[in-house]
Symmetry: C2
Subunit: 332 residues, 2 copies
């Protein structure tokens, strides 16, 4: 299996990309293609004594930045490390693509270069977020700010398949973010989406209030991309806020330092439980081939996990299952 | 000054209402009117040895529940403790109204019974939420799911006045919740609202990403009621999740218990900092007279603080200032 990794996406490129790719070659038995400026990649690898065994480099000199217009991936930045990686995927020269670069550009590229699965209206960025007793999938996390009910139904369907096949949750509990549990709650979008979900074959558990999300109330949390983006970022911000408060408490006094030494093991466990890196990246569900968005601040470990996720995505044929489910829902 | 309190709103009615009112009489020097079944109120007060000095009771036998249709406050539940309290306020028999009952019914009552300030399109539930280095006001927190740009502008204006006059923040930083900081981000609603804010006299700091909200990035956070409700409830859920994790860590082992005893004082401080009760309730900004929504699970202390807030609301003439500002913005 061959997985392309964008060599110049994210905050820690290209070092973390190279490190993570080398780890993936060793531990996961995959072949890697890194896109990006070959000279720089070889230099960094040499400086850090990282083996490039089973890692091919496809030379590209351009990079698309987070501040660039996402649609420029089709024109001005058509030769960027991200665009070239997606073309390799689209052309069948690789099985999956991983990037920690601009989310917007990745969504445009997934839609225009990799193309969509037949029948899918829009690809969704489906982020996996830790919560009490495990994790849940949030779809959409920001790719589609304005959504129609049919789009949200498809996000739920694709999220359910992913959680079942990759995270091994049987009959994932699908929910719709809303301001109340009752089916009469919400805006027109929620009212109509609720009806669509109810008629579907999914394990739809109804509306979920945001309060219940971190408490493990669902396996798949469906929302329009505006709401989903707020949920994702607020979770990050609150985690940072709380961790800051704890750090101050533990390091602010001698007593605190003693307490911290007593709780070292538990703290590490708690931190690991809350760590996005454990779950790899966010799949772009609905693209015709496996595309994984790694977190912008991914380190080598996060890259390795994103590549592991990409590998499972291919092996379990998630896309084939989505195709069949879409076909079936059309016949119904 | 006379403040009406809904005797049968919230989870801990009527005991916490009576206790909180008695505290307010003692500490704040206000007169209180409690609406609700007089016999029950007198019984509970006697059982718990609470003085009813300077507390008048207006007998009502009906209660509007959270599960009732909010508009029923105008018809079936027109004699409920909440409806009668709002009528006393509207008729000039009291200066402010506090209730921990159904938010929906309170919004309908504020609009239909108390009426709006002239020129205000919709009243907003403006919740005060603790954050790093203080607190911020979230408007709207769920009263108006569908909003127009002019409504959001008014929420920002009213929130700014409230934070300046009641929380003593000079030139409050007003922000708009969005998926990115740039003014080109968001849906049509955000794009147009951004332009309106820019043209206003407010201290508008631009868009805020949800990540920055708990980190103290703003004094007034403006959002449509759907998004605001998600922010409010997710904050509550994540706080509960983290507190649960800490409790487990501290109480799960002997080491943990020793650590907890070392950190007792800091933990209490942190908890107090995070406690909504410190800030009283959520004002219904835009209503023609002061209405405060207390948290559904308010205890006596929270009621006392909500009454203190209602008193400040009257004394500082927040409503007069809003009227003038609306008038001025029309002339501009």
């Amino acid at each position: 299996m061959k997985i392309v990794v964008d060599g110049f996406g994210g905050d820690n490129a290209p070092l973390s990309v190279i490190e993570g790719s080398a780890l993936a070659v060793q531990e996961l038995g995959v072949d890697i293609v890194i896109t990006g400026e070959e000279k720089v990649i070889r230099q960094v690898a040499e400086q850090h004594h990282i083996s490039l065994n089973k890692i091919e480099i496809v030379n590209t000199t351009d990079v698309i930045a987070v501040c660039d217009d996402p649609t420029s991936i089709m024109k001005e930045h058509a030769q960027s490390s991200m665009a070239v990686g997606m073309k390799l995927l689209a052309d069948g020269q690789a099985d999956a693509f991983v990037s920690a670069g601009s989310t917007g550009a990745l969504v445009v590229g997934a839609t225009m270069i990799v193309k969509r699965i037949k029948g899918i209206k829009r690809p969704t960025i489906a982020t996996i977020i830790p919560c009490q007793n495990g994790c849940f999938m949030l779809a959409d996390a920001g790719a589609n700010l304005d959504c129609r009910p049919e789009m949200l139904l498809q996000f739920g369907l694709m999220g359910s398949i992913y959680m079942e096949q990759i995270i091994n949750i049987s009959r994932p509990r699908v929910t719709l973010v809303n301001v109340g549990a009752e089916e009469t709650k919400g805006r027109e979008l929620q009212l109509e989406t609720y009806r669509l979900f109810q008629k579907s074959a999914l394990n739809f558990m109804g509306n979920i209030e945001a309060r219940e999300i971190p408490l493990g109330g669902a396996d798949v949390v469906v929302a329009d991309g505006f709401t989903g983006n707020v949920i994702l970022k607020l979770t990050e911000g609150l985690a940072k806020f709380v961790m800051g408060g704890l750090k101050e408490m533990f390091l602010g006094s001698v007593k605190g330092k003693i307490a911290a030494s007593l709780l070292m093991k538990d703290m590490k466990q708690f931190k690991k439980k809350m760590d996005y890196k454990e779950y790899g990246g966010a799949p772009l569900l609905g693209a015709a081939k496996p595309v994984i968005k790694a977190h912008g601040s991914s380190d080598a470990y996060a890259y390795k996990n994103a590549i592991r996720q990409a590998k499972a995505f291919v092996e379990k044929d998630v896309i084939g299952t989505i195709e069949q489910a879409i076909q079936k829902s059309k016949e119904a």
